[in-house]
C-alpha cells in the first residue's frame, strides 16, 4: 500500500516540480515564495501591487514587507492570476483571510480539477465563520486542499534559522507535494491529516497573542505569560474539539508550537498590536502603525460573533474583544479574567475525546 502510494506520488511530484504558484505578496507570501525558489523550484508569485511586483522582478526586493531580504532568483512576480494557475499545479494561498474568498472567486475560472491548493492564511471569514479551506471548497472546483501552519516568524526563517511547519491535508498527495516543494535542511515540514485542527490553531493563536502583547504592555512577566499561553491553549483546544478537530493536534507544532512563538516573539504582529493597545494606543492607530494585517483582530471579531451560536465560553477571546472593540480598560478585563471561578485544569471535553 505505502509502496504503491509512494511510487504514485513520486511520479506526481515530478510533474509538479517545474512551477509552483504563490498567491499573495505580503511578508509570509513573499517568504514562502523565496523558500520554494531556494529549494530549486520555479515560483510564480501573484500580487495586486504592480510596483511591488516590478521591484521584486527587477531588484529582487519586496520593499513593503521584506526590505532586507534578497529574494531568490527563481521567484517571478506577476499580477496575472491566469498565468499562475495555468503554469502551476501546486498553489499556496497566502492572502489575508478577509480577502481570501474574493481571490478564490477571481481564480475560479482558471482552476482545474488537478490543482493542489495549500492555504497558509490564518483566520476565519468574519461574516460566515468559514475556515480558509472551506472557502476554497465553496468557491472552486479544487478538491485536493491542504493547510500550512507552524511556528513561523518569516524573518527568522528567511535568515536561515532552523524552523519547522506542518502541512495537513486529507489527501496524502497534497502533503507529499508540499513537503517535496518546501522541506529543506533548515526548514522541516511535518505532515498531518487534521485540517480543521491546524486551521483553528492557526487562527486562534493570534487572539491569544494579542492578549499576550497586552499583558506585556501592562508590564507583567513570564508567570503571567505562561498562564495565558496554557489557558489560551485550553480555550483553543475546547473550541477545536467542538468544531471537529483532533485535540492532539493542539499539542503539535501548529498548536502549542505556534502559540508559544506568537505569544513571546516581539516580531509577532498580533503581539505588537496588543502591546500598543495596552499602552494607550487606539486599535486604529496600532493597526496603522503595524502597516500590515494583524489577523488576530478580525479573528477575534469572527469568533465572538459566532461563539454564542456555538454555546461556548471563551474567556480569553472575549477579554480581547472587550478591549479591542468595546474600548474597555485592559486592566479591568484582566481583573475579570483572574476573578473567574476556577475549574478543572484539563477540560472534560478533551478527556472524553481522548478516550
Amino acid at each position: 500500500m505505502s509502496q504503491e502510494r509512494e511510487s504514485t506520488t513520486r511520479r506526481q511530484s515530478a510533474a509538479d516540480r517545474p512551477v509552483i504558484g504563490v498567491l499573495g505578496g505580503g511578508s509570509w507570501g513573499t517568504g514562502i515564495a523565496h523558500l520554494l525558489a531556494a529549494n530549486g523550484n520555479e515560483v510564480l508569485l501573484w500580487m495586486r501591487d504592480g510596483d511591488v511586483a516590478a521591484s521584486i522582478n527587477e531588484k529582487r526586493i519586496n520593499p513593503r514587507y521584506l526590505p532586507n531580504l534578497e529574494i531568490a532568483r527563481g521567484v517571478r512576480a506577476t499580477l496575472d492570476l491566469e498565468e499562475v494557475c495555468g503554469g502551476a499545479h501546486l498553489l499556496y494561498g497566502v492572502v489575508p483571510s478577509q480577502s481570501f474568498r474574493s481571490v478564490m472567486r477571481d481564480m475560479g475560472p482558471f482552476l482545474r480539477a488537478d490543482h493542489f491548493l495549500i492555504s497558509a492564511s490564518k483566520g476565519f471569514e468574519i461574516e460566515t465563520f468559514r475556515r480558509m479551506t472551506e472557502i476554497i471548497r465553496e468557491e472552486t472546483c479544487v478538491r485536493r486542499i491542504g493547510v500550512l501552519s507552524g511556528p513561523n516568524i518569516s524573518r527568522e526563517i528567511l535568515e536561515g534559522q532552523p524552523a519547522a511547519t506542518v502541512i495537513a491535508s486529507r489527501y496524502r498527495e497534497v502533503v507529499d507535494a508540499g513537503i517535496a516543494s518546501l522541506h529543506s535542511p533548515r526548514f522541516r515540514v511535518y505532515s498531518g491529516t487534521d485540517v480543521v485542527g491546524v486551521e483553528i490553531a492557526a487562527a486562534l493563536k493570534n487572539v491569544v497573542a494579542i492578549c499576550s502583547g497586552m499583558m506585556d504592555g501592562m508590564g507583567f512577566g513570564d508567570n503571567t505569560r505562561a498562564l495565558l499561553i496554557t489557558r489560551g491553549l485550553a480555550e483553543i483546544a475546547r473550541l477545536g474539539a467542538v468544531l471537529g478537530a483532533d485535540p492532539l493536534t493542539f499539542s503539535g507544532l501548529a498548536g502549542v508550537g505556534d502559540l508559544i512563538v506568537t505569544c513571546t516573539s516581539p516580531h509577532s504582529r498580533n503581539f505588537r498590536v496588543g502591546r500598543l493597545v495596552a499602552t494607550g494606543s487606539t486599535l486604529e492607530a496600532a493597526v496603522a502603525r503595524l502597516g500590515a494585517v494583524a489577523e488576530g483582530v478580525s479573528t477575534t471579531r469572527a469568533v465572538m460573533r459566532h461563539a454564542r451560536a456555538l454555546g461556548m465560553d471563551l474567556p480569553v477571546t472575549e477579554g480581547v474583544h472587550r478591549v479591542l472593540f468595546a474600548g474597555e480598560n485592559p486592566q479591568m478585563v484582566l481583573d475579570d479574567l483572574m476573578g473567574r471561578s476556577v475549574r478543572d485544569d484539563i477540560d472534560s471535553i478533551l478527556r472524553r475525546r481522548r478516550e
Binding site: Q12, R105, R112, E138, R143, Y171, R172
Partner: protein
C-alpha cells in the same frame, strides 16, 4: 440483466478479485485487508497479531485464512443462516485444503472462494429458499408483489391504476431521465422501509425507465413475498452478515462491473433502513465509491460515455410500515441492536395489507423526490451531464483522477473523493426530505414533552413519559403554528420540502389530519385526542416520527411555543 452479461459479470468479478488477492500490495487498488482487531484478540485459528508477513504469497494466504475465519465466526453466531449447511460444508473443505496446499494450488483455492461469494451475490437458488418462495401467497397481497413488475400489475388489475396516484414523483426526474442517455446512473435513495425498493421500482416504471440493478438484502430473498420477484429483477444479493473483507470487496466489484457495462444501479447509501426514522446523515461509502472506481475503469478503457451520475432521492411516507420494529431496535441497548431484522412487519402479510389499505383509504401519498445529480466527486451535474464548479462553470473531471495525464486508481485519494460525495448526498437528503403532518405534529408534541421534563434522559422519558400525561390542544397548536412558520421559511430557502398539505393548511387542520393517520395503522395510536387534551399513547413512535424533522434547528421554535403556551395556561 441479460444472461450473457450475467456470465460476463461473474467471470469479470472473479478475475478481478483473484488478481487483487494474488497481487496484494502491488495491485493498483491495494491489497484486500486481512487483519482485523477481532482476529488479533481471539487468536483462534488466526495467525499471531504481531507477525508481519511481507511477501505477496504470505499476504495472499492471509486473506484466505482471514476469510475462513470470518465465515466460521458468522456460521457459529448464526447457525440458522440461509444456506448455512451448504456453507459449512464448503468452508470445511476449504479449511482442510488451506493449511496443506502447495503454492501452485493457492490460485485455484482463491478462485473457488471468490466464485463461492460471487455466485451468491449474482443470485443462486438454494433449495430451502426456493421452497419458501413457492408457498402460496395470500391473494390480497398480490398487488404488492406486482408492484415489482408494474406492467404485469396493470394488465391483471386495471383498477389499480388508481393506486398509481398515490405515488408522487417530484424534483429532477427529467434530469434523471436525460442523464441515462449520457452515462450510467446510480440512484441513491433514503431508506425507511422495505417498501422503498418497490416504490422506487414503481417510480422508475412511471418515468419510463427500465429497472435498475439493485443490491437487495438477503432477507428480501428469504421473505416469501419478495424473493421470487427479486430474482427476476436486476437484484443481486447482499448479505450484511458476511463480514469478510473479501466478501465486501467482491460485492463492491460486482457493482463496479455492472456499472461499467452500463447497468444503472440502485443503492441505499444509508446501508440499512433508518432505525431512528431520521434522515441519514452518515452514509456507507463503500458502494458509493464503486461509482468512482467504475468511472476510472471506463476512462482507462477509453469508453464512449464513461460518466457515472449519482442521483440522490428521498422517499417520504406519512406512516412507515415497520416503524414499531425499527424504533424498538434503535432504542434497544447499544450493541444489541440487530443489523438485520428478519421478523418485522414486512414478514407479516396482514400488516402489509393493513398498511396498504390505509394508504388507499386515507388518501395518503408516497413522495419520491429526485435530487439534482452529482458526479463521483460530489460536484453538481447539469442536464447535459457536465460537472459544474460552485460558480456553474464546467469542470474537466478527468483531471481529478489523472496522474501524469492518464487516469489511475489511487485508493487513499479516491476514498476522500467518495467521502466528499457522501457529504453532498447527505446534504441533498436533508434538502429534499419532504415533511408531512405526521412528522411535524410528532415533532411539536415530543419537543413539548422534552421541555416539560428538563434533565430527564431520553430513555426514561420514553419509558415513563416523565411528569406529563397530556398536552392541551391549544398548546400543541401554538407550537405547531411556530414550527410550521419556520418550516415554510426553510422550504422557501430550499433547505427542506413540505407536502402540499403542510404548505397550505392551518395548524388545526394539520393536527387533526396527523391524528387520523396516527390512529389507524399502528397497533397503538401514536397520539390520541380526548376532549381538548392530547395523549401520547406510543411515545416510541412519537419519537420516531419526530426524528424526521430533526436537524433543521426547529427545536427552538417548538420550545418557544411550549413556554408561551404553558405561561398563558397558568395565568
Amino acid at each position: 440483466m441479460r444472461t450473457e452479461h450475467k456470465e460476463q459479470v461473474l467471470s469479470e468479478v472473479i478475475g478481478r478479485i483473484v488478481e487483487r488477492v494474488v497481487r496484494g500490495a502491488n495491485h493498483p487498488l491495494g491489497p484486500i485487508p486481512a487483519y482485523t482487531p477481532s482476529m488479533a484478540q481471539s487468536g483462534g485459528g488466526a495467525p499471531a497479531a504481531g507477525a508481519r508477513r511481507d511477501s505477496d504469497a504470505e499476504q495472499a494466504e492471509l486473506v484466505l485464512l482471514d476469510t475462513l475465519y470470518h465465515e466460521r465466526q458468522r456460521l457459529e453466531r448464526d447457525p440458522g443462516a440461509p444456506s448455512a449447511r451448504r456453507d459449512r460444508v464448503f468452508w470445511e473443505e476449504i479449511s482442510r485444503a488451506l493449511p496443506r496446499h502447495a503454492e501452485a494450488e493457492r490460485l485455484e483455492l482463491t478462485r473457488r472462494i471468490v466464485a463461492h461469494f460471487a455466485g451468491e451475490i449474482i443470485g443462486h437458488f438454494s433449495p430451502t429458499v426456493y421452497q419458501l418462495t413457492t408457498r402460496v401467497v395470500p391473494p390480497a397481497l398480490s398487488l404488492l408483489l406486482h408492484a415489482l413488475s408494474p406492467r404485469r400489475l396493470f394488465s391483471s388489475f386495471p383498477e389499480l391504476q388508481d393506486l398509481t396516484s398515490r405515488l408522487v414523483i417530484r424534483g429532477e426526474s427529467e434530469q434523471l431521465r436525460g442523464l441515462r442517455a449520457r452515462g450510467t446512473v446510480v440512484l441513491a435513495p433514503t431508506h425507511l422501509s422495505n417498501l422503498d425498493s418497490l416504490a422506487v421500482g414503481w417510480a422508475l416504471h412511471f418515468l419510463g425507465l427500465p429497472p435498475f440493478t439493485y443490491g437487495a438484502g438477503l432477507n428480501l430473498f428469504i421473505n416469501p413475498l419478495t424473493s421470487f420477484f427479486m430474482h427476476h429483477l436486476g437484484a443481486y444479493t447482499v448479505d450484511r452478515k458476511k463480514t469478510a473483507p473479501l466478501y465486501k470487496e467482491s460485492l463492491k466489484e460486482y457493482a463496479t462491473v455492472t456499472m461499467e457495462l452500463g447497468y444503472d444501479n440502485l443503492f441505499f447509501p444509508g446501508g440499512t433502513r433508518s432505525r431512528s426514522g431520521a434522515v441519514e446523515r452518515h452514509l456507507k461509502l463503500g458502494l458509493l465509491g464503486a461509482g468512482l472506481r467504475a468511472y476510472i475503469n471506463n476512462l482507462k478503457r477509453g469508453k464512449d460515455r464513461p460518466n457515472i451520475y449519482v442521483v440522490p432521492c428521498t422517499l417520504n411516507y406519512q406512516l412507515v410500515l415497520e416503524a414499531e420494529t425499527l424504533i424498538a431496535d434503535y432504542l434497544a441497548e447499544t450493541g444489541k441492536s440487530r443489523f438485520v431484522i428478519l421478523d418485522d412487519e414486512f414478514s407479516q402479510p396482514q400488516r402489509i395489507a393493513e398498511f396498504l389499505r390505509n394508504i388507499m383509504g386515507l388518501d395518503s401519498t408516497i413522495y419520491l423526490v429526485v435530487s439534482r445529480a452529482l458526479d463521483p466527486f460530489g460536484n453538481r451535474v447539469d442536464d447535459e451531464g457536465r460537472s459544474l464548479d460552485p460558480a456553474g462553470r464546467p469542470i474537466d473531471i478527468r483531471r481529478y483522477v489523472s496522474i501524469n495525464g492518464s487516469p489511475e486508481h489511487f485508493p487513499a485519494r479516491d476514498e476522500e473523493y467518495t467521502r466528499e460525495l457522501g457529504r453532498e448526498v447527505a446534504a441533498a437528503f436533508a434538502r429534499d426530505n419532504l415533511l408531512m403532518s405526521t412528522h411535524l405534529v410528532a415533532f411539536c408534541v415530543f419537543r413539548m414533552l422534552v421541555a416539560d421534563n428538563p434533565g430527564v434522559d431520553l430513555f426514561r422519558l420514553l419509558r415513563t413519559g416523565g411528569t406529563t400525561e397530556s398536552f392541551s390542544m391549544y398548546q400543541v397548536e401554538e407550537a405547531m403554528i411556530r414550527v410550521l412558520d419556520a418550516v415554510r421559511q426553510l422550504a422557501r430557502a430550499g433547505a427542506v420540502r413540505c407536502d402540499e398539505r403542510l404548505a397550505k393548511s392551518g395548524a388545526e387542520q394539520l393536527i387533526s389530519n396527523a391524528l387520523r393517520y396516527f390512529g389507524t395503522y399502528h397497533r397503538r395510536p401514536v397520539l390520541e385526542r380526548r376532549g381538548d387534551r392530547l395523549y401520547a399513547v406510543d411515545r416510541n413512535l412519537l419519537y420516531y416520527y419526530h426524528n424526521r424533522a430533526t436537524g433543521y434547528g426547529l427545536e427552538a421554535s417548538a420550545a418557544t411555543g411550549v413556554l408561551a403556551g404553558s405561561a398563558k395556561e397558568r395565568s
